[in-house]
C-alpha cells in the first residue's frame, strides 16, 4: 500500500508511456475502423461515414449501407481482433513465453474442429439445420477449443509451462486438429463445403447483426475479467518460485488465466474463423509498445483490432476477388513470427 503512495519515477514513466501509447492506438484503431467502413463495393466519403455513425446520415441509402451491411463486418473485425489479441497476451503472460499463443497452441484449431463437426452434422439434418448451426456451433467450438487447451497444458504441466515443449506439443495438436477437420469435411459430405472451407480460412465477409449474438458478450466479459486480473498477471510474470513465495495460488491463477484466454480465442474463432497469427502478433506487439513486464489488456485488444481491420481491408479490397481475411493475417503474421524467433534466439544467446 505504502509503495503506491510514493510512486517510483520508473513506474510513473512507464504508466505515462502506457497511457500515451494507449491513446495513440485508440486513435489509430478508430481511423482504421472508419476506413474499413468507408472502403467497400462503392466508396463512401469519410465525412459521411462519421455523420452516419453519429446519427446524422446524409441519405437513407448511405445509412442502410453503413448500419446494416458494413457496420456488422467492422464490429466483427474489432471484436475478433480484440479477443484474439487479449487471448494471446494472457497466454504469453502465463507461459512466460512470447511464442505461446492460442493459435500456435492449437486452441483455435480445436474450436474450428468443433465447429466443422456441427457443420458436417447439419448437412444431414434437413429442416432444423439453421437452428443447429446458430446454437450448436458456438457450443461445439467451445468444447473443442477447451478440450485441446486442457490436453496441451495437462501434457506439459509437470515439466514446466515455460519450456518450449509447450509450443511443440501445441504445434502437434494444431496438426492433429487440422487433419481431423479435413476428415470431417470429407465424411460429412457437406453440401456447402465451399462455405466451410472459406470459414476455415478465417473470414468476416457476409456477417450480419444476427450472427453477432453470444460470442461478442463472451469477448466483452473476457476483456473485462482480464483487465481486472491485472495484479495476478503481474505476479505471474515473475518466475514461479518468486510468485509462490509471494503467496500466490500459482496453479489456480494459471488455470483461471488460461481459461479466460481460451474462451476469448474460442469466441473470436466463432465470429471470424481461425485467423492465423493475430493472437501471437498482437500479444507480443502490445508488450513491445507499452514496454511493461506484461502486455496491457487495452493495448493488446486495440492492436488485435487494428490488425484484423487492416488485414480484412487488404484481403477483401486489394484483389479482384474477395479473399478471406485469414489469408492476409497469415501472410503478414508469418514474417512477424520469424522476426520473433530470431529476436528470441538472439536474446537467448546473450544469456
Amino acid at each position: 500500500m505504502s509503495t503506491r503512495a510514493i510512486p517510483k519515477p520508473a513506474q510513473v514513466l512507464r504508466a505515462r508511456r502506457a497511457a500515451a501509447t494507449g491513446l495513440l492506438l485508440l486513435a489509430v484503431a478508430f481511423a482504421a475502423f472508419c476506413l474499413h467502413l468507408a472502403i467497400g463495393g462503392t466508396p463512401i466519403a469519410i465525412g459521411d461515414v462519421l455523420a452516419t455513425l453519429f446519427g446524422a446520415a446524409p441519405d437513407a441509402r448511405t445509412e442502410l449501407a453503413i448500419l446494416e451491411f458494413r457496420l456488422p463486418r467492422s464490429v466483427a473485425a474489432v471484436l475478433a481482433g480484440a479477443g484474439f489479441g487479449v487471448a494471446g497476451a494472457l497466454t504469453q503472460n502465463v507461459a512466460r513465453n512470447p511464442l505461446a499463443s492460442p493459435d500456435i497452441l492449437g486452441v483455435t484449431n480445436g474450436a474450428a474442429l468443433g465447429a466443422v463437426c456441427v457443420l458436417a452434422i447439419s448437412a444431414h439434418t434437413a429442416g432444423r439445420s439453421e437452428l443447429l448451426v446458430l446454437y450448436g456451433l458456438p457450443v461445439a467450438a467451445t468444447v473443442g477449443g477447451l478440450l485441446v487447451s486442457a490436453l496441451v497444458f495437462a501434457l506439459v504441466w509437470r515439466s514446466s509451462l515455460e519450456s518450449n515443449r509447450l509450443v511443440l506439443v501445441g504445434l502437434g495438436f494444431s496438426g492433429l486438429c487440422a487433419a481431423l477437420t479435413s476428415w470431417m469435411l470429407t465424411l460429412g459430405e457437406i453440401y456447402n463445403a465451399q462455405q466451410a472451407l472459406t470459414w476455415l480460412a478465417g473470414t468476416i465477409n457476409a456477417i450480419s447483426w444476427a450472427d453477432l449474438a453470444i460470442a461478442p458478450a463472451v469477448i466483452v466479459l473476457g476483456l473485462v475479467a482480464a483487465a481486472l486480473l491485472r495484479n495476478q498477471r503481474e505476479v505471474l510474470a515473475l518466475d514461479s518460485d518468486t510468485s509462490r513465495a509471494l503467496g500466490m495460488h500459482l496453479g489456480r491463477d494459471r488455470v483461471l488465466m488460461l481459461g479466460i484466454a481460451s474462451l476469448l480465442a474460442i469466441a473470436a474463432t466463432v465470429i471470424a474463423g481461425p485467423l492465423a497469427f493475430v493472437a501471437l502478433a498482437s500479444g507480443h506487439a502490445a508488450r513491445l509498445v507499452a514496454r511493461g513486464t506484461i502486455p496491457p489488456v487495452p493495448h493488446a485488444a486495440l492492436i488485435g483490432a487494428i490488425f484484423v481491420l487492416l488485414a480484412d481491408l487488404l484481403a477483401a479490397r486489394a484483389f479482384p476477388v474477395i479473399l478471406p481475411a485469414g489469408v492476409a493475417t497469415a501472410v503478414i503474421g508469418a514474417p512477424y513470427l520469424i522476426f520473433l524467433v530470431i529476436r528470441q534466439s538472439k536474446i537467448r544467446q546473450r544469456g
Binding site: 504445434l171 496438426g175 492433429l176 489469408v327 501472410v331 514474417p335 524467433v341 534466439s345
Partner: protein
C-alpha cells in the same frame, strides 16, 4: 561412482557381489580386458533380413492397395486383372486406377522417407521433416503460382519449379535456424518452418481462390493425395533415382558428421561437402514427392524414427530402410484412406497427419527430445 564408493565402506563385499555377479570380485585385470575387447557382433545379417522383411511388407501393401478400393475386388478378379486382362470393369479399376496410385504412393513415400531421414540426420533434430519445415509447402507454392498464371505445366517444368521452391524454402529455414548455432535448435527450426508453411499455404489458398478456372486442379496442392501423380512419375522416375543415389552417397558423410564436424574432418569428410550433398538430396527428393503427391506433412517425421529403431545408427542402412518404410507407410495410409471414408475417400495427406501428429506430440514430450 556408487560402485567405487561402496567398495570403501564395510559392506563392500556384498555390494561387489551384487553388482558384478558374473565377474570374480578381485580380478580387475580380467575384467578390464573383457571390457576392452567387446565380442564382435554380426549386425549385417539381421539388417539384411530386416530389409527383406520390409520389402516383403511393401509387396503385401501393393497387393492390398490393388485389392481394396471403393469396392473390394475378389481374388479371382485380382488374378484376372494381373495375368489375363481383357478389359472388364474390375480389370480397368485395378490396372488403370489402383496400380497408378500405388506406384505414385510408393515413389512419393520412399522419397519423403529418405528426405526426412536426411533432414533429421543433418540437423540432429528428431522433430524435423520436410513437411513441418515448410520445404514441401515452398515447392507447392512454386508450382501453384506458375500454374495460376500460365496454366498447367508439363511434369518436368513442374518438377523443376518444385525443386526451386523447395531449395528456396530450405535455404530460408536452415539459414534462419542457424542463428541458434550449428544445425539450429529444434524449436527455432520448427517455428521458422511453421511460419514458412503458413506463409506459403496462405499464398497458395489466395491463388487458388483467385484463379477460379484452375481451382479444381489446384485444390490438390492443399492437402496431398496420390490420385493424379502417375503421369508425372512416368517422366520423373530418373529424379527419384538421382535423389536416391545422392542420399546413399551422403550416408558415409552423415555417419561421420554424427560424430561432430571436427571428428568428421579427421576422417577425411569435409563438412561443407557433405552438407551440400545432403541439401541437394533433400531438395531433389522432397521436390519430387511434392510434384507427385502434393505437400504431405508428418511422413518424413515418422519414417526416420521407425528406420532408426530397426537399423540402428548407421545411415548406410537407415537410408535404404527409410525408403522402404516410407513407401510402405504411404501405401498403407492410402489404402486406409480408401477404407475410412467410404464411399468417398480421405486424401492420404490427412491420414498421414492423423497418424503422425500424435507421434509428433509423443516425441516432443519426451525429455531428451534434442539429440538424434
Amino acid at each position: 561412482m556408487r560402485e567405487m564408493n561402496s567398495s570403501t565402506i564395510p559392506a563392500a563385499p556384498v555390494n561387489i557381489l551384487r553388482h558384478n555377479r558374473s565377474q570374480p570380485p578381485f580380478a580387475p585385470a580380467a575384467h578390464l580386458a573383457a571390457r576392452e575387447r567387446p565380442p564382435t557382433i554380426n549386425r549385417t545379417t539381421p539388417r539384411i533380413s530386416s530389409l527383406l522383411v520390409l520389402a516383403a511388407a511393401v509387396g503385401a501393401a501393393i497387393g492390398l492397395s490393388l485389392w481394396i478400393g471403393s469396392t473390394t475386388s475378389s481374388f479371382a478378379e485380382l488374378r484376372h486383372a494381373l495375368l489375363a486382362p481383357d478389359g472388364q470393369v474390375s480389370d480397368i479399376a485395378i490396372r488403370e486406377i489402383r496400380w497408378p496410385r500405388t506406384v505414385t504412393a510408393l515413389a512419393a513415400g520412399a522419397a519423403l522417407g529418405m528426405a526426412g531421414t536426411l533432414i533429421q540426420g543433418h540437423t540432429r533434430n528428431p522433430i524435423a521433416e520436410p513437411g513441418l519445415l515448410g520445404i514441401n509447402q515452398g515447392a507447392a507454392l512454386a508450382i501453384v503460382s506458375v500454374a495460376a498464371f500460365t496454366g498447367p505445366q508439363p511434369a518436368w517444368t513442374q518438377a523443376l519449379l518444385a525443386l526451386g521452391g523447395a531449395l528456396l524454402a530450405a535455404l530460408v529455414v536452415f539459414g534462419i535456424g542457424r542463428i541458434d548455432g550449428r544445425g539450429g535448435s529444434p524449436i527455432t527450426l520448427l517455428l521458422v518452418g511453421a511460419a514458412v508453411t503458413a506463409l506459403c499455404a496462405g499464398v497458395v489458398s489466395a491463388i487458388v481462390l483467385l484463379s477460379e478456372a484452375a481451382l479444381e486442379t489446384l485444390r490438390f496442392w492443399q492437402v496431398g493425395s496420390v490420385v493424379q501423380g502417375y503421369e508425372s512419375f512416368l517422366s520423373l522416375w530418373p529424379l527419384l533415382i538421382a535423389g536416391t543415389v545422392l542420399a546413399l552417397a551422403n550416408a558415409r558423410g552423415l555417419n561421420a558428421l554424427t560424430l561432430g564436424e571436427d571428428s568428421a574432418r579427421s576422417l577425411g569428410i569435409t563438412a561443407l561437402h557433405a552438407r551440400g550433398l545432403g541439401l541437394a538430396a533433400i531438395v531433389a527428393l522432397s521436390g519430387l514427392a511434392v510434384t507427385l503427391a502434393g505437400p504431405i506433412a508428418f511422413l518424413g517425421l515418422l519414417v526416420p524414427h521407425i528406420a532408426r529403431r530397426i537399423f540402428g545408427a548407421d545411415y548406410r542402412w537407415v537410408i535404404p530402410g527409410s525408403a522402404l518404410c516410407g513407401a510402405l507407410l504411404l501405401c498403407v495410409a492410402d489404402v486406409l484412406g480408401r477404407m475410412l471414408a467410404r464411399p468417398g475417400e480421405l486424401p492420404v495427406g490427412v491420414v498421414i497427419a492423423l497418424l503422425g501428429a500424435p507421434f509428433f506430440i509423443y516425441v516432443a514430450r519426451r525429455r531428451k527430445a534434442v539429440s538424434v
